[in-house]
């Protein structure tokens, strides 16, 4: 074994992998949340849809996203493997246990598994649909001087473009038309289903519990435990990752559900 595989396969190394991939996923969550906040814009999805195009075509972002998929898989499998060897370290269980640790910290494996299921559903709903499904296109006409949308039009079924987006200036240069894959519409229609909304809320609860421990824990694994900086880690872990981000994400399906009522 080389020193690197030896390191990564040690108990601390396995945790290091969890921490590094986990923290990367945390930064992804921030980006993902900020981008998705555009769902709340009342522009019938124009900003969100063009953002989606950017995210799926920019070569830099694309490269990162492959890394992201890999990290999700590594985080999941390393996590499951750790959970397996950890429970093997205590073959015979206690008859009575009175834990002095938080529920979340003891159930990272279960929370992670919930999140994995959530991710499969979520990616099936949106990522897969966007990439391989037959999403409709939408045309927006924008007044360039005002910046307002003058007109929108659902493209007919079977309409196809060579790319995900097509922009065209009007002849008088006063307005432009944008035809773009309408993922916004997909969100709107999906979240009309209350069961899916509930599933997403539960998913975000799992994110909250996973990260209230995970974020702080990742830093601890990386060796960052210092009385001067612990309050910062705790603050970010609790407020940003366990409260703001999950609530912002959960607000999205709720928003669409309420909107269509």
């Amino acid at each position: 074994m080389s020193w690197l595989t030896q390191t990564l396969s040690s108990s601390i190394g396995k945790k290091l992998i969890m921490a590094l991939t986990g923290l990367f996923l945390c930064t992804f969550l921030i980006v993902h949340m900020i981008g998705n906040l555009q769902l709340f814009k009342s522009d019938e999805g124009l900003a969100f849809n063009t953002y989606t195009v950017f995210m799926t075509t920019n070569p830099f972002i694309k490269t990162i996203s492959y890394g992201l998929y890999a990290f999700i898989l590594i985080h999941a499998f390393d996590g499951l493997y750790l959970a397996y060897i950890n429970q093997k370290a205590r073959a015979k269980k206690y008859a009575k246990v009175n834990n002095q640790s938080t529920w979340a910290s003891r159930n990272m494996g279960i929370l992670g598994t919930v999140l994995l299921v959530y991710l499969v559903v979520h990616m099936g709903d949106f990522w897969y649909e966007y990439k391989f499904g037959h999403l409709p296109f939408k045309e927006y006409t924008i007044d360039l001087s005002e910046g307002t949308i003058i007109d929108t039009r659902q493209m007919p079924d079977g309409f196809m473009l060579n790319s995900k987006i097509e922009e065209r200036l009007s002849d008088d240069n006063k307005s432009k038309t944008v035809i773009v894959k309408d993922l916004y519409q997909e969100a709107e229609s999906s979240f009309a289903n209350p069961l899916l909304v509930l599933f997403y809320i539960l998913g975000m609860a799992a994110v909250s519990f996973h990260l209230v421990h995970g974020f702080r824990s990742a830093w601890q694994t990386l060796g960052a435990n210092h009385p001067k900086y612990n309050p910062l880690f705790n603050f970010l872990g609790v407020w940003l990752f366990a409260i703001i981000i999950p609530i912002a994400f959960a607000a999205m399906p709720v928003y669409f559900f309420l909107k269509q009522l």
Partner: protein
């Protein structure tokens, strides 16, 4: 006080054990938990039953022999206290108390409540020392140590090696124990020469003993009779990863 005890009984390493129930009466609240066990054992001997084997020695909270998992918690309901310093006034008349041995693959049960903790000794053997032969030391004051470092090293060195951290951890991880020794010596100038090698070897030994990994739940520190801090685990992680990245060994 009258109590009902449910105690793990196991003939030897290879046999299956089970919880046995015993009724005890006339227990004084001033008794220590182990003295209560003495009374129970006397009672068992009178009934011609085999007394319960349990590890204990100094009975003043420093040798680290005692190792009872009491009502779901290593060393019982108090914090910062080993079983031997737990007194019956922490319980109420009529209580049922469940007493089990430490449970970990790396701590096999040998009999009743007695477990084999020699894995801890092997972890220390792997590197928990400064390699200085007798007679080679220079004058003690020729090596000043900042007070904060000395104090912090002392706090880590206060570990009594009882294994409560392993017993409390849902993963039966020995990271608090191992990190306490790595920390102590990493904080002191005396430990610098072997700093990297020590971290690498002690962690490798810890892993080979079958302890789990750390999930940072903090249960170990919460149950530690000497309240050893989780900061030590963070330091061990730094020491280990730093050593792996920078040591000359391939």
């Amino acid at each position: 006080m009258s109590l009902t005890l449910k105690v793990w009984r196991q003939k030897n390493k290879d046999s299956e054990g089970s919880l046995e129930t015993y009724a005890l009466e006339g227990i004084s609240p001033d008794m220590s938990f182990l003295e209560m066990f003495d009374v129970l054992n006397e009672q068992l001997i009178h009934e011609n039953k085999e007394p319960i084997a349990f590890d204990h020695d100094c009975r003043e909270g420093i040798c680290g022999s005692c190792s009872m998992h009491i009502n779901g918690r290593p060393h019982g309901p108090l914090t910062g206290v080993a079983t031997c310093q737990l007194h019956m006034r922490s319980f109420s008349d009529g209580d049922t108390i469940v007493v089990e041995p430490w449970r970990a693959v790396a701590f096999p049960v040998m009999k009743d409540l007695v477990v084999d903790r020699s894995s801890f000794d092997r972890i220390i053997s792997a590197g928990g020392f400064v390699s200085v032969n007798t007679g080679n030391a220079r004058d003690a004051n020729s090596l000043p140590v900042p007070k904060e470092n000395a104090d912090e090293a002392f706090m880590a060195a206060a570990c009594i090696g009882c294994g409560a951290c392993v017993a409390a951890c849902k993963n039966a991880s020995a990271m608090l124990f191992t990190s306490a020794k790595i920390s102590q010596l990493a904080l002191l100038p005396q430990g610098q020469a072997e700093r990297k090698l020590r971290a690498e070897k002690m962690v490798a030994q810890m892993d080979s003993e079958g302890f789990g990994a750390c999930t940072n739940t903090g249960a170990c520190s919460a149950e530690c009779p000497k309240e050893i801090s989780m900061e030590n685990i963070a330091r061990m992680n730094r020491e280990y990863l730093g050593a792996k990245l920078t040591s000359s060994r391939v």
